[in-house]
């Protein structure tokens, strides 16, 4: 197999861990054109295998690790890779995106994607060296935490004295014990959401390492190099990707969210935390930050390294700061840094762990579940993480997440999740478009897969955050855009530069104010673009470099309209697979706290008017009133038979 397109290695490989069989997976250039790579490619592969009857922990499930065509080409922020599977947390097709270097090394070994299935007979470390697949016994690694596992792997891989040039994936104890929100770790980067680590644990797969000597070749290397220079410059000079994210990271949002009343506090009872200055990004940077870090070829460098017990460890992102800060009424930054590190080491998603803990604290407060956990009572939490990861005591119950706990004990109205996935730290009652995104997201309660409309609702721009007007259409637009960026192998953070720098750096200027006023009235125009993206048969290069970059990398003709159309295809494909598992409008929900309880009793609009936005969203997507993609929509998106 090979490809006429640049950026691709031309091979997809499947490994059956039960039998040890390794075989090529057919993947044509036509499929590359339709499904690109990464998240959308994985959705197509899973769509071809899943009928709606499969269980996550079964031989019928697949774990698809896929790169994008831009991975390894030198394009900015292009070292991402995607993992998709039937999630143990949501029971649906779900995806998780990760930075680091595994995707790059997978391509160096000659593969665009790796498909894993089956349960190995013993604890296994899968080593891939070009076309060699070696199944090692991993008894010696089993039980180890993430950094210890990766250090041991590194030692094993460098016994001949050669430097370690490998990409690594591993799980911690949480994955081994099938905690439903277990993560997969790659260096310090985490594929955190939807419980991918539990699937690896079920497979008895402790780790995958990959190395090789293939070269990723862009279609037009010279054009790509020139374009990348411009692109890097643009990102480095943009107020968000060149100033805010490099300087303060996502942690900088805590203060902004506090001012906008969207900082989840005490299990989303409130949108403001009076102690936010003890656990915000400014304090993190001024008192704890050691150095900024970034993934391969990333000019944004949003990651933080902090000092903890004389060690330099990865610092928390906004979600962890918010949810393990005010979310559980903790204002101790040192503890928060420790927990963030411990959760990464044990291999658990900090968003779902924090959301589940906050639910348990409120359940205890209300007498729904007498578990002994209380808001603000933060002693012993480290021990609790260990108990969850090893499924001991109440940890065994907490390992199942807030949805299942609330189904067992009651308290669904304050289980802050959607489709079984806990929400991140954006309180949506003062950012209702973000609320819609959480509810309809294929992944479950995810801000990014939900379209991240909060960037318009008070963070980057400042449109009316509580009107439902235009929110459905804008959500569709941003979901499609991010879907395609993800599929190409790039970081979603590059999409923030889509907003012209002058709008971001001049929030008080008349033109920025005008955009803020006009956008909620632009629903019909956005709907038109969503429905007929071919109208934008051009590149939007002054602000959007992705389409030309994609073209130089692959040789595949691309316009902004086509780019959006492929994103739409990917999003609808995932939805149609989830519909096979029974998903419909009834599942696109939020807990009653967010839709029925006012965040401010004196502000009647301080709730998410989901009932108003959902029908508009379905219509904008070309889905029926029950949220099922119609035949004509599937046909229009060339998904005939995919639904």
């Amino acid at each position: 197999m090979s490809s006429k397109y640049g950026g691709y290695m031309g091979k997809v490989v499947q490994v059956d861990l039960a039998t040890g069989e390794v075989s090529p997976y057919p993947w044509s250039d036509r499929e590359r054109e339709l499904y690109i790579g990464g998240k959308i490619m994985a959705a197509k592969i899973l769509s071809d295998h899943l009928t709606g009857k499969e269980k996550p922990f079964s031989d019928q499930n697949l774990l698809v690790i896929a790169t994008g065509p831009l991975t390894g080409t030198g394009a900015p922020s292009s070292s991402r890779f995607n993992i998709s599977t039937l999630s143990p947390q949501t029971g649906l097709l779900a995806s998780s995106n990760c930075g680091g270097n595994f995707g790059y090394y997978l391509k160096k070994a000659g593969y665009d994607a790796l498909i894993l299935r089956g349960q190995a007979r013993e604890h296994t470390w899968l080593e891939i060296r070009n076309d060699k697949f070696i199944f090692h016994n991993a008894d010696g690694l089993w039980g180890k935490k993430a950094s210890e596992t990766q250090a041991a792997l590194s030692q094993l891989l460098t016994q001949d004295g050669a430097p370690d040039k490998s990409g690594k994936l591993c799980i911690g104890p949480a994955g081994e014990n099938r905690v439903l929100y277990a993560s997969i770790i790659s260096n310090e980067r985490i594929s955190g959401r939807t419980g991918m680590g539990a699937i690896m644990g079920w497979m008895n797969l402790k780790a995958v390492t990959v190395t090789g000597n293939h070269v990723v070749r862009p279609y037009d290397p010279e054009g790509m190099l020139k374009w990348n220079r411009k692109w890097f410059h643009y990102l480095r000079t943009h107020p968000l990707t060149g100033e805010q994210l490099p300087r303060i990271g996502t942690a900088g949002l805590v203060s902004q969210m506090q001012m906008r009343k969207i900082l989840a506090t005490e299990n989303f009872k409130h949108g403001q935390n009076e102690s936010f200055e003890k656990v915000n990004g400014e304090r993190l940077a001024e008192e704890f930050n050691v150095v900024n870090k970034g993934c391969l070829t990333c000019p944004i460098r949003c990651a933080r390294t902090v000092a903890l017990d004389g060690q330099e460890v990865k610092g928390p992102e906004l979600e962890t700061l918010g949810l393990l800060g005010g979310g559980i009424r903790n204002d101790n930054m040192e503890l928060l840094l420790r927990w963030n590190y411990e959760l990464d080491e044990l291999g658990m998603d900090s968003i779902s762990a924090a959301g589940t803990l906050a639910w348990a604290m409120e359940a205890n407060e209300k007498g729904v579940w007498n578990c002994g956990l209380n808001f603000g009572d933060v002693g012993g939490i480290s021990r609790l993480w260990e108990d969850i990861a090893h499924r001991r005591g109440i940890g065994d119950e907490l390992a199942n997440g807030s949805k299942r706990l609330s189904e067992k004990y009651g308290g669904k109205e304050f289980a802050i999740q959607s489709k079984g996935l806990e929400l991140s730290a954006y309180e949506p009652r003062h950012a209702v478009g973000m609320g819609l995104g959480y509810a309809v997201s294929n992944r479950g309660g995810c801000h990014l897969n939900g379209g991240y409309l909060v960037i318009l609702e008070g963070l980057g721009l400042n449109i009316d955050s509580q009107t439902p007007k235009a929110k459905a259409d804008l959500t569709v637009m941003f979901q499609n855009l991010m879907e395609m960026i993800s599929a190409s192998g790039q970081c979603l953070f590059t999409s923030y530069a889509f907003f012209p720098g002058f709008l971001m750096s001049r929030p008080n200027a008349w033109y920025t104010q005008a955009v803020n006023k006009v956008l909620p009235h632009a629903g019909a125009a956005v709907r038109l673009l969503n429905r007929f993206p071919q109208l934008v048969h051009m590149h939007l290069s002054p602000v959007f470099h992705h389409t030309r970059g994609f073209q130089y990398a692959t040789g595949m003709p691309m316009t902004f309209g086509k780019y959006m159309s492929i994103g739409n295809r990917g999003y609808t494909l995932e939805r149609s697979v989830n519909c096979r598992f029974g998903v419909s409008a009834k599942d696109d929900t939020l807990p009653k706290r967010l839709t029925d309880e006012l965040e401010r009793p004196d502000e009647p609009r301080s709730r998410v008017p989901l009932d108003k936005m959902k029908p508009v969203y379905y219509a904008a997507r070309g889905w029926d009133s029950n949220g099922i993609p119609t035949r004509s929509t599937l046909r229009r998106l060339k998904l005939k038979g995919g639904g």
């Binding site: 994210l245 303060i248 001012m259 721009l461 953070f493």
Partner: protein, 83 residues
């Protein structure tokens, strides 16, 4: 006397954090902050930089030419994104 706090990238760039200052309007406040920033040892900021900030006064977003009253709490933010 008004209180003023800065958050976000501009705070880290300039070293300006939190002050109690005499100012009748935002322009006066910005002029005072610009003076202070010259002594932080970090990157000095100008009145123009400060005028580009999002302004919250007593928890509400205000226009950049807003008058100030004694006891007002002013917060200056820079636009942000994340994920």
């Amino acid at each position: 006397m008004v209180s003023v706090k800065l958050f976000g990238a501009l705070r880290l760039r300039s070293g300006l954090k939190e002050y109690q200052l005499e100012a009748k309007n935002l322009d006066e406040l910005y002029a005072r902050l610009a003076e202070i920033s010259a002594g932080t040892g970090l990157e000095p900021v100008t009145v123009k930089d400060l005028r580009a900030c999002i302004v919250m006064i007593n928890g509400k977003q205000c226009r950049p030419r807003h008058a100030l009253s004694d006891g007002d709490a002013v917060v200056l933010l820079t636009p942000a994104s994340g994920g």
